[in-house]
Amino acid sequence: MLVLVLTVVVPSGASADVGTTIEERCVNHQSLTGFTLVDYRRALQEMEASSNQYSECFKLISNAELAAATGAGAGAGPGAAVAAGPGVSAITPTPAESRAVQQAAHSSPAALDLGGHVVLPGVVHVNIASAASKLPASLLAMLAFLLTGGTVATGRSVKSRIARSRQR
C-alpha cells in the first residue's frame, strides 16, 4: 500500500522537472547550457508569471534556446543527448576547438581561431587602451597630474645638479 501511495505521489521522472531546473538555474544566475531545445521550450512554457516578468529569465532562456537551435554552443540540438544531464553546464568542445587546443600546445605560435577569437600563442592579449578607458576619470586626472609633477621635479633636480656641477 505504501509503495502504491509513493508511486502516485512521486513525480513521474526527471524530465518532468527539467523546465523548473532551467528556471531555477536562471534565477540563481547559473549557466543555462547543456539542455535540449525541448527542455528550453518546456522551461519557457512552464515559467511562472513572476519569474517571467520580474527577472531576465524569459529573455535568457530564449537566448539559450536560440543558441541551441542555431548550434551556437549554448545547448544541444532538439532531442540530442544532453552533454551532462539536466543541471550540469559543461559544454563539450567542438572537434575544431579540440584540434586548435592540441595544436596550440605543440606547435609554433601560429594564429588560431578559438571560439571566434583569433589567438596568438605566447602573446599576452592585453588591450591597454581598453584598460585605461575603464579607469575612473579622477584617477586618470591624478595620474596625469603626477606624471607632469614628476617630470617637473626631475627636471628641476637635473637642472640644479648641472648648476652645482658647473659651480664646482
Binding site: M47, E48, S50, M142, A153
Partner: protein, 504 residues
Amino acid sequence: MCNPLTTTALAAPHTAPRARAVADRGPLALLITLLLLFIWSAALPVSASARPDETVFFEAPGDLIQVSPQARAKALEQLQWLGVKALRVELAWRDVAPNPTSARMPSFDATDPASYAWGNYDALLAEAQRLKWPVLLTVTAPVPKWATAAKKDYLTYPNARDFKAFMTAVGRHYGSEVSLYAIWNEPNHPAFLLPQFLPDGKPASPRVYRSLFAAGYEGLQTSGIPRPKVLMGETAPFGSDSITRQEAKTNSLHDVAPLAFLREALCLNSQYHASGTCEELHPYGYSHHAYTVGSPTYKPEGRDNVTIGVLPRLSSALDKAAKAHAIPAHLPIYLTEFGIQSYPNRQLGVPQSKQAQYDALAEHIAWSNPRVAAFSQYLLHDDKLGGKPGSSVHGGFIGFQTGLEEYDGKRKALYYGFPVPLVVSHRHGGGYSLWGLVRPATAQTKLAVLAESSRGHHWRVLRALTTKTDGSWSFDSSTSALAWRVRWQSPTGHVYEGPPIAVS
C-alpha cells in the same frame, strides 16, 4: 624626549645640503602623499551618511484597501509598530469610475469628484491623514472599458483626454491629502498598459505613457494645483529594447526595458539625443521599481534593465536626458516599489533569513545614494503564489512573496527585521562595518548590537550606542561573529529584536 637626530639636524649647519635635498624632493613627496590620500579615500566603503530626507513608502493593498474597517485598523496598527511613516497607494481608475465595464461612456461630468465612487480609498487616505503619514498616490490601470481605444479591455490605448478629466477629479478630491502623485504603475509592463510593442517589434507603450503623463499633469493643474508634484516612470525593472516581429505577433507578455522606455517616453534616441520635437516634461522626480533577483548586488545582463544593484544606470540616463533638455537636471530618484521575494516562492524567492538580510542591504544601498529620495516596502502579507505566464495580462495576478508575513499570516524574519534593519559588511583592511536604522524612532535613541560567539548559541552585547536623530547608526568593529542582531526598546516599552544577520 627629544629625538637626538632631529635635534642635531636642526642645530648643525653641516646638514644643510641634506635638508636642501629633501626640499628638492618636496613636490614629489607632496604628489606621492596626494596619491596615497586619493587611493586611501577611494578604498573607503561608501559612506553611510544620514538621510533624514529619505522617505520609506509602505504599500499593502491587500491589507489596507479592499478590507473591512476593522481589518484596516489592525493593519495600520501593525504598520505603526513596524515604524512606517508614509504610504504608497495605487488608485485604479476602473475601481472608482462609473459603469467601468461598459463599452459606452456614461453621460457624466468626468471632472467632478462627486461622479466617482471613491469608497475604500477615502477611508485609507483619511486614516493616513489622521496619522500624519504622507501619501504617494499612483493613479493607474485598469481603466474603464469606455476609456480605451477599442473598448474591448481595460489596458489598451487609454484615452488621454478622459484621463485628464479623471485626474482633475482626483486632484479636486484628494488635493490636500496627497503629498505626491505618480502617473501609472509599471507602464512598461503588459499587465498595466497595452500595447507594449508595435507589430514591427518596436516599443509602443512609452509614447502612450508620455501622453498619459502630460494629460494627468494638466488634469491636476486644472484641479487647482498650479505646480503638482508628479513622479514619472514607476517602471518595472526588466524588459527588452525591442522584440522580433514573430514575438510581437504571438506573445504580448514582454515588458519594455526601463531605460529604453525612458528614452522613448522622452523622445530620445539610443544615444540620448533628441529625436523629435517633444517639449520638456516637468516631473517632480523619476520613480522606479528596482526589484532584484536574489541579492541586491545582482547586476542584470541587459544594459537597459535597472535593479537596485545598478542604480547608477538610471542616474546616468536621467543626466543624459536632462542634458538633452527632455527633463529638468538633477531629478531625484524615487524607489517607490521594492521588496525581496522569499520562500515559499520557489522560483524567485530566497530563504526567509536571507530576505531580511537582503532587504536591509538594499535599503542601505538606497540610503547611501544621495540621488535616491525614497525607498519602499511592497506588501505586508504575501500574495498567493503566482500564476502561469499570461495570468496577469488575462485577468489573473502575479503573486508576490515580498511580504513581512506569509499569505497565511505566519511572520517571517523580515517582520522583525523591518523595524531595525541591519547590514554587516566586510571592511577594506579587515573587520566589519555595521549600519542600521531604528525605523520607529522619532529622535535619538539607544540600542544594543548583539553578536553571536563563534561557538554559537551565545549572544553578547557587542556595543550599546545612540542613533542619530533620524534613527540611523553605524560603527566599525574588529570582532568576528557568526551573526549579529539589534535589540531596541521603544520609549513605550516595546522590545524589538531583529533576526540574526550574517555578513553580506
